[in-house]
Symmetry: C2
Subunit: 441 residues, 2 copies
């Protein structure tokens, strides 16, 4: 056997805070969402901590029925648009990967291919695309559509969409451009490839007006955990995010995804599985538990109830925080999230207040010392439940700062985490091969 496996860590940066009350913490920067100086500071801290990548979720916070009074207790209502933010961060960082979420349901493949290819060139090979199919029906209301497409159709569309985008990224061979001042020849004509994609859904000719990305293709990330989501990820993803609340479930998911990858002829090592985790860390357990308790008590009941309603896919504001969760109607939104909620409520018998506090904390919160956090990471890595984690921070910058100061050194001491970035691109840092062009023989 060679060296022990090392963890891949992503920093999931949601501003002003992942936890609904995180922005109210005394050390939190409540105004960070549209402050580029704050965002640059977060990204540089994550880079100092050698996180492989920053992940930016897409803010789609607005429920189908808007109630401004309820919404006004939510901090996740405005932020930078992901592609513009990561482009700005690309020149303020040097090594860290930059992963943005973009929906295949409401954009055109040509536009998506072009912006990600551009970001990959801007960052010299550090771009990643988190492919989502949009679980939020409210998006349809902003895109001149009457209805959100049905769940399984969205995945069919996503698979075709990613295939078109990859085809467009191959528009120019890696060695197409010669810039020959003497002859006047800018590129070699035989190295231009025209996609000519035609289907019922899409007609995209190409070529893309961007050279092949430095990584060949930016890293593809996928987070759906339904059967359709898993099948899609096994086919096209390099990295899978997943919400797992316990080790046994995480092992099942990991095993399933690796075997799905093998079944479609891929090397399972080239599909990285990163469960989400929310560490609440302090030098002692007592301090960590106090920190967690204080955070949970900061949740405003109106915000808590709104969050629970969103996860449930139905309005629960008529219930009291002391009530139990009622039976829920079937959702056309995020089925995985609803199922996780129902399962947890049944298993624990929690009240609505306890449920929104559980939701607010994230599905896999680890409260403890740096050694406690490292113990769980090590256990999941050794149990083949994870190749690493997508780390979420209750509050920014404080929880990110604490993680980099306290947990990263402990992981490095145990030989579980790198001490420098490997290579120059995100693919190299993740140990993933550079994909060949479909036109290469």
């Amino acid at each position: 056997m060679g060296a022990p496996r090392k963890l891949v860590l992503g920093a999931f940066l949601q501003t002003p805070s992942q936890h609904t009350a995180g922005w109210r913490h005394p050390r939190a920067d409540a105004e960070a969402s549209l402050d580029i100086d704050a965002q640059i500071a977060f990204a540089r801290t994550a880079e100092r901590g050698l996180f492989h990548a920053i992940f930016i979720a897409d803010t789609l916070p607005f429920p189908m029925v808007l109630d401004p009074e309820v919404l006004s207790f939510s901090s996740r209502v405005v932020d930078f648009e992901p592609m513009t933010l990561l482009s700005a961060l690309s020149v303020a960082t040097k090594h860290i990967g930059l992963v943005a979420t973009l929906s295949t349901t409401y954009f055109e493949p040509y536009a998506v291919a072009r912006q990600f290819a551009s970001l990959d060139h801007l960052s010299k090979g550090r771009a990643g695309w988190n492919v989502v199919t949009s679980s939020n029906g409210a998006e349809a209301l902003n895109h001149s559509r009457d209805r959100h497409p049905e769940h399984s159709r969205r995945y069919e569309q996503a698979i075709e969409f990613v295939d078109i985008v990859k085809g467009l990224w191959d528009s120019w061979d890696d060695d197409a451009f010669v810039f020959d001042k003497a002859s006047g020849r800018f590129f070699l004509p035989a190295h231009l490839n025209v996609l000519n994609h035609v289907s019922e859904r899409y007609r995209v000719r190409g070529p893309l007006p961007v050279a092949r990305p430095p990584q060949g293709y930016p890293v593809i990330v996928q987070a759906g955990s339904s059967d359709a989501g898993r099948a899609a990820a096994a086919g096209f993803a390099d990295v899978v995010f997943t919400a797992q609340s316990d080790l046994a479930g995480a092992v099942d998911f990991y095993t399933d995804m690796k075997s799905r990858a093998a079944a479609v002829g891929r090397n399972p090592d080239h599909l990285l599985i990163l469960p989400g985790v929310t560490p609440v860390v302090a030098p002692t357990r007592a301090e960590a538990e106090k920190k967690y308790r204080e955070l949970q008590e900061l949740i405003h009941p109106v915000a808590g109830m709104a969050m629970l309603s969103a996860a449930a896919g139905t309005d629960l504001s008529g219930f009291s925080p002391e009530d139990r969760l009622p039976p829920l109607p079937e959702t056309n939104g995020d089925k995985t999230r609803q199922a996780l909620l129902v399962e947890h409520a049944q298993k624990t018998g929690k009240s609505i207040r306890e449920l929104y506090r559980w939701l607010a904390s994230g599905y896999n919160t680890v409260v403890g010392t740096p050694a406690d956090i490292a113990d769980q990471f090590e256990e999941w890595l050794d149990s083949r439940a994870a190749d690493g984690f997508n780390v979420r921070f209750s509050s920014l910058p404080n929880d990110l700062d604490d993680f980099v100061e306290l947990v990263i050194p402990e992981l490095q001491r145990r030989g579980l985490f790198h001490r420098a970035y490997e290579g120059t691109t995100l693919r190299e840092s993740l140990g993933l091969p550079r994909p060949q062009s479909r036109y290469e023989s």
Copy 2:
């Protein structure tokens, strides 16, 4: 009367070169198009020269019928996507405006509003949007459409589109966000505005997940010079780009646009008219003329013919460089460009080679000393033919460097150009008021 009027100057940065052969110049950086370090250097030179803004055209270089052999002599085939590039430049510059071109024909108003609002926050108030309706039918082929929309319908759509975008920018009042940690209130509910736009063409609910832009609205630029384009610009634009080849025509255009603005109830001083100009400058006239001649001789006949075909809206490759321009079929593309070409050909009797050399040089090339360039700028400003210029550079970085070294000091010496940026936003630098929200009483 107060101080003399001062010029507004935009730096129109097309990489690797505005002139089709510019990249072949010995001092040119032929590889700049996808090199962020080169782009940052250009932007910083423009900022050192106190240009009010950088303008980025959208690369839509691919003709309806692709001939890779012909295309391979063209340098304008790949570059950064404009929104991602300007986002990157926003953190590498401090004062200069950042104007990107985006089409109202192939994007959704919600996505456009969101990215420009984000860029305005990233740049702390320096974003501008050059609204185009897309003259290139080849775009339809990449967006699952069979046909490019007809010319006048595109402008109707653009007017509605801009109105929706402005409505989305007003989603949050300027003082909406209170970030109140004590009460848990993030924003004031009465200061959220939901657009609810419904028409045959668009249904957009809002709100935008971005706070109101620092400038209220990013600066709106328009460049169409047809009657429909002028009417649209008089209604919604802050800045108009225009292709004018002589003083008399420029005065007519300027007068027409200012009176159109007044006719719709606007202050004509708040609609800035910037004709394009391509200076070829050197310390002496003989040097400048030599520089120009050498550049024109670098045009490869295949590239020249392709450029002329694009402007003509029809394939001219069957003709010889010695031939005269044949009668042209009506175009559904850029009518203004075709009409300018036909008028110039008729007036001058030029051969096809002379015509593509004329096209390559830009419609308003001024060859001479710094004093010659300043003379023309001063004459156009004093004659009310221009409020300033959109300056094009045959070759980068050399022509930008020469302009900043030689022409800017001459303009400043004459009191025609500022010696420092006024204010902090692009609107302040241009002397334009900050627009009120439509919801403000």
